[in-house]
Amino acid sequence: MPVLSTQGLKKHYGKEPHIVRALDGIDIAVEAGEFVAVVGMSGSGKSTLLHMLGGLDKPTDGKVIVDGQELAKMSDEQLTIFRRRNVGFVFQSYNLVPILSVYENIVLPIELDGNTIDRAFIDEIIDTLGLGEKRDNLPNMLSGGQRQRVAIARALATKPSILLADEPTGNLDTKTSQDVLGVLKMTSTKFHQTMMMITHNEQIAQLSDRVIHIEDGKIVREGRS
């Protein structure tokens, strides 16, 4: 059974005749531990897809099922709680909370949920991502690459059903990008973490297990890399 699946997912903005079909009938299924890349041009609808999968936005039609639960049936409050337990986000612009230290940023979703922190696991993540020395620093003291690693660590911390990464290397130079992608790939394998990454860069997409191509809100091509 797939960890993540969509059935006839549609997202339309506006009304006829000016209707914009950001997503127009998407069917995907992602298996546990799989690393999937979604590739498309700017405006192809890939970000909208990610928002739908993460429960940030509601579809016009169709279903999103994560870990056996249908997101459309949840209230805002339920969605938030679902998100912090089951979905990890990595954004292009890192989106770290500036008043919280590296460690606090990483454990924030766990603490928001009121759970006890699995310290050994968190330490393992921090070590794996090479953030040990920066543990108590505030994000403004970190480089772009380091910030993105913190974001990845935060996304991994709750052991989510799925990790969604939206252009995770969009703000980074080539070398750092390689580095961050390596980390993503490595953690995916090491923690058997299901991941979906959005990018417009074919080369980066090649690092994943499977690539889905989107154009005008529709899947045009799909294949193993």
Partner: protein, 836 residues
């Protein structure tokens, strides 16, 4: 080459303004409030000055600067020729009105003024002038207060008024009874200053009938062209007119101003203005600074496109100037409207203006306020402008409006919203400090003002100058026609007052002390020095060493004894074994062991005489009481106090001057009603009561409350505006950050709890400082205030403080709630994308 880029800068300025409507609102409000406060301070100051000036004029009864006694006709002619004399008129005394007991304590003369004197110099110092100046021999014009004393409440032109007058001073000359026709009346204020001395105005015809002229019986009053050179002109006059030795130039006393007083007022005013500018500055600076921080990308972009730092400064400063153009007139207009109501209220409550108040609408007030407000705004804009100008275009691109000063943290938040809130407050320490300071100042001012007002204890104040519940005074004694008003029948009525508890009697008679230079030499020398009464022979002194002897009850001394180093033996005093001398310098009486008192009598017919059939008595001096004891006026010989027992023994039935009456608690009102019935129609008896004095004070206290509270509220409002701005902008700027928090699973409830905790944090910190440092400041200011107002008792205004605290808490909670709601209008996806 010079290019004209004014137009594009103006356009940028205008567009910037349009896109920051909320910020504009805050700045305009700040400017308007600052203008309002400064204009109000100026308006009160100017109005006070003008009212005091008017009061001086009215109390003097003339607008003239100086007077020349007994001017000759040729001198008058010369006077009118002098280029520094604006106007000169003459007036002379015609006769002296015989006061009837019904008229009570007053000293009236019939006086004639020539046309210039009346129209140009006198009439402007009077108000409510009705009718016209007397033309016919039997016409008079009377001050309203005199008419009232004559029992005329509703005067009419032509009504008949009978008067008796002496044609010469000192009750000499013929006593004439005449029925006059009233030709007019006016409100005169002179009597307030002079102790009920005033004039009834008569015609030239009557003056001539008795052969009175300015040269013989009058003076010329002179108005100069410049009031600041009065002293100089007076010297000039002596030379120019060739005044004889007996002629004097007298300066109207209003023009002796004490520069020390002015300086204190000026310092106080400057402090208040500086404080207002500072609070206004805090708000304007903060609002602009935040606005510039938010617009960093905009200014960075401008710079990338080639706008020079100077031009960017012009854009920022230009915005503030345009906002001033809106804010200042609003503030000035509100101040203008307010001054109709608030200024007269304020002035009349200061208690120093007795002759009516004027509200000043001098353009200086509004010009000054506008300048100071503009100064405040520019001061507030200067640093933000500099910041906008110095933004690096590269950094600006990456700028997110979120500033963190720290690099590491040493405590943990554990995902607790309130702990995150606390860190958020101090994210930008400088901004937090400004907001906290602004709120702190506002609330502390509010508490200080309410403390001062509630501390003004009316009961204590009244008790400090009124010794008993009621005091009745026989005014005939003061006029010099003593008449026993408080007869034994009257006393019996008093004793039957509801709740009557005690009655203290002060009696008063005249006496002559046996003078010898050995005993009283030092005292007389001192007296002569103080009163410029030189040229007295020993015989003169001996003959005129007369004064007042007053009889008091033992209770009058009990209170006094508490403060005396050497207490008086009250029992011995009561038995008449010694007398007390009223003086502040007892060492002048070192050689006086015993007083030889000759009882005297003073009547309207024959003046001061030895009391027929009485013998001098010898009384040892038993001690001293303060000069002001018993509030009895002073004569050549020192005032002497003996017991009423002794008074009765020497004078038989001495005149009773004052009655101090105390009634049991709770009976004050009833007793007052009864006393009103007994004394209201009797002009010779005046009444003071604690109850009436307290009521009067209470009314003015409420007025002070409203006015002081108004100022305090505006200041508090500035602080609160500052907070509201910082808080709501702070939340809007963090829109994306908050969206992130939601992405990673912070529920709306948690976000809200964090934001509300932030607001609460500000409130709690502010209140903490208010209740520690703020209260210390309040107490310090109260101590300063108490030095002026000794009757004040420190009273902490618990209820207003509680209300203010609750208001602060409420605002600190509502503001983040509001801001939160406004950002939640857009969806999380929109908010996430916005920054990209």
């Amino acid at each position: 080459m010079k290019n004209n880029n004014g137009a594009v800068i103006r356009r940028l300025t205008g567009r910037s303004l349009q896109s920051n409507k909320k910020r504009n609102f805050f700045i305009i409000t700040a400017i308007a409030l600052t203008t309002l406060l400064i204009a109000s301070v100026f308006s009160i100051g100017m109005s006070l000055m003008e009212s005091m000036k008017m009061q001086e004029t009215r109390l003097m009864g003339t607008v003239a600067h100086a007077a020349i006694t007994q001017p000759t006709a040729s001198q008058m002619e010369q006077l009118n020729q002098l280029n520094y004399v604006k106007a000169a008129g003459t007036g002379n005394n015609v006769a002296f009105v015989k006061t009837t007991p019904q008229m009570g304590d007053m000293n009236l003369s019939l006086h004639y003024f020539d046309k210039t004197e009346w129209e140009k110099l006198r009439a402007p110092a009077f108000t409510d002038i009705a009718g016209s100046y007397p033309q016919k021999e039997n016409e008079i014009m009377v001050p309203l207060w005199v008419l009232e004393r004559l029992g005329i409440e509703n005067p009419s032109i032509g009504m008949e008024i009978p008067l008796s007058y002496y044609t010469e001073n000192g009750n000499n000359g013929a006593l004439v009874n005449e029925v006059f026709n009233l030709s007019g009346w006016f409100t005169s204020y002179m009597y307030i200053r002079s102790g009920n001395i005033d004039s009834i105005l008569v015609s030239e015809e009557l003056s001539q009938e008795y052969g009175k002229t300015a040269e013989a019986n009058g003076s010329a009053s002179v108005l100069f062209d410049n009031s600041s050179r009065v002293l100089e002109y007076c010297e000039q006059l002596k030379l120019d007119l060739g005044l004889s030795e007996t002629q004097k130039v007298k300066i109207v006393p209003a023009f002796d101003v004490d520069p020390g007083d002015m300086r204190t007022t000026l310092i106080a005013l400057s402090t208040v203005i500086a404080f207002l500018i500072f609070t206004g500055y805090l708000l304007i600076y903060n609002v602009l600074y935040i606005s510039v921080s938010r617009d960093v990308r905009f200014y960075g972009l401008l710079k990338t496109l080639g706008t020079t730092p100077k031009q960017i400064k012009r854009v920022v400063i230009g915005q503030i100037v345009r906002l001033c153009i809106i804010g200042i007139p609003i503030g000035a207009a509100v101040a203008f409207l307010l001054s109709f109501v608030a200024v007269p209220l304020f002035l009349s409550n200061l208690g120093s203006i007795a002759t009516g108040t004027v509200v000043s609408f001098s353009p200086l007030i509004y010009l000054g306020a506008a300048l100071f407000a503009l100064f405040t705004a520019l001061l507030g804009a200067f640093k933000p402008a500099k910041k906008a100008a110095s933004i690096s275009p590269i950094e600006a691109q990456k700028f997110t409006g979120i500033k963190i000063n720290k690099s590491r943290v040493y405590s943990s938040v554990n995902g607790k919203p309130y702990k995150m809130a606390f860190r958020n407050i101090f994210r930008d320490r400088k901004r937090a400090a400004i907001v906290l300071l602004s709120l702190f100042l506002g609330i502390t001012t509010f508490i200080t003002i309410t403390t001062l007002i509630t501390s003004m204890d009316t009961d204590n104040y009244v008790a400090s100058y009124l010794e008993s519940d009621f005091m009745l005074q026989n005014n005939t004694v003061m006029v010099g026609y003593p008449e026993q008003k408080f007869t034994s029948a009257f006393m019996d009525t008093i004793k039957s007052l509801p709740g009557f508890e005690s009655l203290r009697v002060t009696t008063l008679e005249w006496m002559r002390l046996d003078y010898s230079p050995d005993e009283f030499g030092e005292y007389v020398d001192d007296y002569i020095k103080r009163n410029n009464a030189e040229g007295l022979t020993e015989q003169n002194i001996y003959d005129n060493f007369t004064g007042i002897i007053a009889g008091i009850d033992r209770e009058a001394l009990t209170e006094l004894n508490k403060t005396m180093d050497k207490p008086i033996d009250i029992d011995a005093f009561e038995r008449g074994e010694f007398a007390l001398i009223a003086t502040n310098t007892p060492n002048l009486f070192e050689n006086v062991d015993e007083l030889t008192i000759f009882p005297m009598v003073c009547t309207s017919e024959s003046g001061m005489q030895e009391r027929p059939g009485s013998e001098p008595i010898k009384v040892p001096v038993g001690g001293f009481v303060p000069q002001s004891f018993g509030k009895i006026c002073r004569s050549f010989a020192p005032n002497v106090f003996v017991s009423n027992t002794l008074m009765n023994a020497v004078y038989g039935e001495p005149i009773v001057l004052k009655l101090h009456i105390d009634v049991a608690q709770g009976y004050e009102e009833q007793a007052l009603d009864t006393l009103k019935q007994i004394t209201d129609e009797v002009y010779e008896v005046s009444r003071q009561s604690k109850l009436e004095a307290q009521e009067e004070l209470r009314a003015s206290k409420i007025m002070l409350y409203i006015l002081g509270g108004g100022v305090a509220l505006i200041l508090a409002l500035i602080g609160i505006l500052n907070f509201v701005n910082v808080m709501s902008v702070g939340i809007v700027v963090r829109k994306q950050e908050l969206a992130t928090l939601e992405c990673v699973g912070m529920s709306r409830k948690q976000v809200r709890r964090m934001l509300v905790s932030e607001g609460l944090g500000y409130a709690v910190i502010t209140l903490f400082f208010v209740f520690t440092a703020g209260n210390a400041i309040t107490f310090g200011i109260f101590k300063l205030f108490q030095q002026q107002a000794t009757y004040a008792i420190f009273t902490y205004p618990f209820i207003p403080v509680l209300m203010a605290s609750l208001a602060v808490l409420a605002i600190c909670i509502i503001t983040p709630e509001n801001a939160y709601c406004s950002i939640y209008k857009s969806t999380i996806v929109e908010r996430l994308r916005e920054a990209e």
